[in-house]
Structure formats: C-alpha cells, structure tokens
C-alpha cells in the first residue's frame, strides 16, 4: 500500500538554489552537502520566519537537539579527545582524517580511567569532523552570504552552519534518478539509475554526495532495523514513493523506514541515536582498537598487502541468529600471529585449507580472539562502572558532559535548585541526554562482549 508520494519538484537540490545565493561556477567547487548546508544556514528562505521553507524548517530538530545527541557538536572533553585513549587531538584547521591506529586504548592495568566514546566511534567522528570543517571553510570562502555572516559574528556563523550541516547529514536522501530532458543537469552528470532509495549509507558515502537531496515530509520518517516492518522507499523520475510492507499498523503506531544496515556506533555518530537494548539487528562493534596494537609491523605489512588490515568486527547476537561471533577478517588476522608467513598467505590465497594446518591452529586462534574480546570487555566494564558513578553526581555529570561555554551557567543553575533535583533546566538537559546515550552504548558493547565470551566458554 502506498502511503506517500513526494514529487521531485518539492526537493531541495543544488539546482533549486538560486544563483543569487551561489552562482553555478561556485556550486561546482562545493560539496553538495556543504552547499545545501550553507543554503539552510544563511539564506532567508530558511532563516526568515516568513521564508519559503519556514513551514518545513519548523518540523526540524533544534540546534539544541543536535547538541544533545550528535557527538560532532560535543566539546573535545566530551568526545573523549582529552581522554587517555586519544593520542592525538585534531587541529582546528587543515586536519586530515586519522588512520585506524590513532585511537589506541591503553591496557586496563596501565590506566584506570575510561573513554567517553568507543574508539570505533571516534574514528568515524574524526572523519565526519574533517568533512564538516572542510565544508565550512569552503562555504565562508566562496559564498557571499556565508562570508558576510562570518565577518559579522564568527561563532554565530559557525553555529548556523553546524545546524545546516547536521540537518543535511541526518535528513538527506539519496536520489540518483536521471533528470528529465527538459531540466538542467546537476554538475554535468545525468545518467544514473537505481532501484531504491534510502537515507545515505556509509558504503555509498564516497559516491553519493552528488545525489544528496532534502525532501519534505518524507524526512519525518524515523529509522527501524526491522526490514519486515519498515516501509519501502523507492524513487523514479517523478520523485519518492513510500509503501507499507507490513501487513498492518494499529492506530497511533509509528511508521518507520530503514536507513540501512547500520551499527549503533554509526547511528550514534551520524544520526545522534542508538536503537535501545538489542533492538538493532545490524549491530556490531569494531575490534580494531584492541587487535591492531597486538600486531607487529611485519605482520601489519603482510596483512595490509593482502587487504586484511583493520575492520575487525564482533557481531551482536541480535545480528547473528542469537550468537555473538566475529567476522572472517578477525579469524584471518588471528591466524597471522600463529602461522608461518607462507602458511598464512597460502591460507588467505586459498592455496591451503584449514584442514591441512596443525590441528591446534583453530584452538589457538580462538583463544587469541577471546583475549581480544576480553580486552574490549574490560574497557566496556570500566566505562560502564565509571559512568554509573558519574550518574550519581549531577554536578560531575554536568561538568563532564556539558559544553565548556555553558558550563558555569549549568552548574550554577543546578546548585540553586539542589533542593528540587527533579527540575530540569535547559542547560542541564543536554549533558543528561548525552550521558544517557553514551551509557546505553557502552552497556550494549559490554553485552555483546559478554555474549561472545559466554558462548566461547560453553
């Protein structure tokens, strides 16, 4: 059953942005993400209460909603950048995305402190931060209204752009259907075909920037990991269509779409939420931060040569028929530390089967994987314990999870109201919401590790 049809004429695309805001030649120099974000941030079509898109914008989250949920807008401390697991901090200008070995946790013995965010999230966050900063610098350099806004008030201009950028990041859809012949093409590309559409996914991220569109009403639909109950979103040259697939929906029941098979780490960084408990049937955690430091440079070189360096995954039981398990890449990298170089390469190249190896190789590999998962388990346990302690102290929670600029106000408000702790002030809500998200994610990581370790034991 079709629930919604959104015509293409209602989309916000680069070609819908007037030349008075940004001329065609400049549009070609900007990323689509940056261009749409700048338009949302600085054009009166969005900024004025009587603007063309005011009714649409009124349904969007506020900047405070984003501040509470998207780690991109959290302070460095809150993002864990000052924590012991971060060996480097990002510079404000001219940064480059970090490689996977940057976020290396110390062992529990050498460091009793904890990280706010898991290392795998920090890697995604670095990449996102890099893209955001690049887009912002391009916008204030090339778009006159952005440049003016920045000249008048750099912090305000930055906040506006952050908001626009987060709107595009969390609400854009992927639309790659060819334009009809009587319309101008976007950036000279005009022959794309696709059978489906979904909010942007990481695998598409590298190529999809070109196809990003903002689309009214359809952008209200929230995410579910349940592909059976999710509505199907398709597109053609006329626009997007949303169709129900589940047999029935009761009155007041929310209707969802699936943004893609994303882990909660990804959902957290990109969209600012995690699916609760074990609801996410695509959840997994990265083991890179615990595995990579255990591999010597020679093994690292060989793993890299064969395409097995990094991206080691532990699946949630919910994503793997109720059984916590590691991915094939983790199985392979475990064997690099056990087998001779020729044997390992023979195994990877398919010239040697597992049966032809010594009988205890599998046991040794499993024991090693168990050690890695055990290390991750300890980190998660330490983080959950520390966070629970912080949760008992509202002042400490606000200090750690608040923004530096608002910290003083937040703390003074809380002191004034300590006799009535149930009263929630605006500035204390944000730290609490951040805290709740972080704690939930660490608890999930702990459960995923526990599930693997229990399975292995039995």
């Amino acid at each position: 059953m079709n629930l919604m049809h959104v015509p293409r004429s209602s989309f916000l695309t680069p070609s819908a942005i007037p030349d008075s805001f940004c001329c065609s030649s400049t549009k070609n120099l900007l990323s689509i993400h940056g261009l749409l974000a700048a338009y949302v941030a600085y054009d009166e079509a969005f900024t004025s209460k009587s603007g063309k898109y005011a009714a649409w914008k009124a349904t969007w989250p506020s900047l405070d909603d984003f501040r509470a949920s998207l780690p991109l807008l959290w302070s460095d401390r809150c993002r864990g950048e000052c924590g012991p697991w971060r060996e480097k901090t990002l510079e404000l200008d001219g940064i480059s995305p970090s490689n996977s070995s940057e976020h290396v946790p110390k062992s529990s013995e050498e460091d009793a402190s904890f990280s706010f965010l898991p290392a795998s999230m920090l890697r995604m966050l670095d990449h996102q931060t890099f893209k955001y900063r690049q887009d912002f610098h391009m916008a204030i350099s090339l778009i006159p209204s952005a440049e003016n806004a920045y000249r008048q008030s750099p912090p305000h201009a930055q906040d506006s752009f952050k908001y626009g950028w987060c709107i595009v990041n969390t609400r854009c859809l992927y639309y790659d259907h060819p334009l009809s012949p009587n319309q101008s093409t976007q950036r000279g590309n005009d022959s794309y075909l696709a059978n489906d559409a979904s909010p942007i996914s990481p695998t598409r991220a590298a190529t999809s920037n070109h196809f990003m569109v903002l689309c009214p009403v359809i952008d209200l639909l929230n995410h579910t990991a349940n592909s059976t109950s999710a509505c199907k979103v398709t597109h053609n040259r006329y626009g997007f269509t949303v169709a129900a697939q589940a047999p029935a929906a009761a009155e007041d029941e929310e209707i969802f779409v699936c943004y893609g098979p994303h882990s909660n780490d990804f959902l957290f960084v990109e969209y600012g939420f995690v699916l609760p408990g074990e609801e996410n049937t695509h959840d997994s955690i990265s083991l890179d931060a615990v595995i990579l430091p255990t591999i010597n440079p020679e093994q690292r070189r060989r793993a890299d040569a064969k395409g097995y360096l990094g991206e080691y995954t532990l699946f949630s039981p919910a994503a793997n028929r109720g059984i916590g398990d590691v991915c094939w890449r983790t199985e392979v990298i475990a064997r690099i530390t056990i087998l001779a170089a020729e044997q390992w390469e023979g195994l990877v190249d398919g010239l040697l089967s597992e049966d032809e190896l010594e009988p205890d190789v599998e046991d040794k590999a499993n024991a090693l994987i168990r050690t890695w998962v055990g290390t991750m388990h300890k980190q998660a346990e330490r983080s959950v314990r520390a966070l629970q302690r912080i949760g008992e102290d509202q002042l400490e929670l606000t200090r750690l999870f608040g923004d530096d600029t608002n910290h003083t106000t937040a703390v003074s408000l809380m002191r004034n109201d300590r006799a009535e702790p149930t009263i929630i002030h605006g500035e204390t809500q944000i730290p609490r919401r951040r805290y709740a998200l972080v704690l939930e994610r660490w608890r999930q990581i702990l459960r995923i590790c526990q599930s693997y370790l229990c399975r292995d034991r039995s």
Partner: protein, 114 residues
C-alpha cells in the same frame, strides 16, 4: 535511571502548529499522503509519522485478463502507475473497491489517465 525517565517521558503532541503547517506546505508542494497517516511529535523520538487510524495492507487479489492486456500495451511506467492506483483502491480486507479507504491515487500529474 531516574533522570532518563525525566528527560524521556512520552509526550505526544499530535496537533502542534508546526505539524499543521507542514501539512499545508505538503499539499501546496503536491505531496500526496494516505489519509490514514499523519505527522506527529514526541519528546522521545522528535518528529515522526504514525498511523492515524488502522492501516491494513492487502495485495491485489486479481486483475482481469482484459485489464492486464490493456495495461501491457501501454508504456511500462504507465503500467506501473495503473497498478499502484488499482492496488491503492483495492487495499481492503474484503478486496472490494473502496475508494474511501485510500482516496489518494498515485498518478503523477504529468501522465494522467489514458
């Protein structure tokens, strides 16, 4: 945790001015929505879309051979849109034609019925 409940208590606000406005905006933009769904707002999830009444999905039970033949002679997109329209109008538990059950027919303006 106690303060989770404080922050995330359910508070559905189905009739906010912003959601009324977006419906008007959607109509002006030619966005077609099934009569049984509507935007809503909750503090927990922010904005979303929900079933305003019970929604039941029932696939097309049968099309006459003549209808299929007629549709197949037309351009393939037109064929698909005919199917969507027929599907929408036949989506009822009884399988009978119930236009009120789904007043929206998903035909792009640019095509029109033959």
């Amino acid at each position: 945790m106690a303060h989770d409940a404080e922050v995330y208590h359910e508070d559905h606000q189905p009739e906010t001015p912003a959601l009324d406005s977006i419906m008007q905006y959607a109509r002006a933009q030619g966005i077609q929505m099934h009569a049984s769904i509507s935007p809503y707002h909750s503090l927990k999830h922010g904005s979303g879309i929900r079933a305003a009444g019970p929604l039941e999905v029932c696939r097309i039970k049968s099309l006459s051979l003549y209808t299929l033949y007629t549709l197949a002679r037309l351009d393939s997109n037109l064929f698909i849109y005919h199917l969507l329209a027929v599907d929408a109008n036949q989506s009822s538990p009884s399988g009978q034609h119930e236009p009120d059950a789904c007043p929206t027919i998903f035909l792009p303006d640019s095509i029109g019925y033959p």
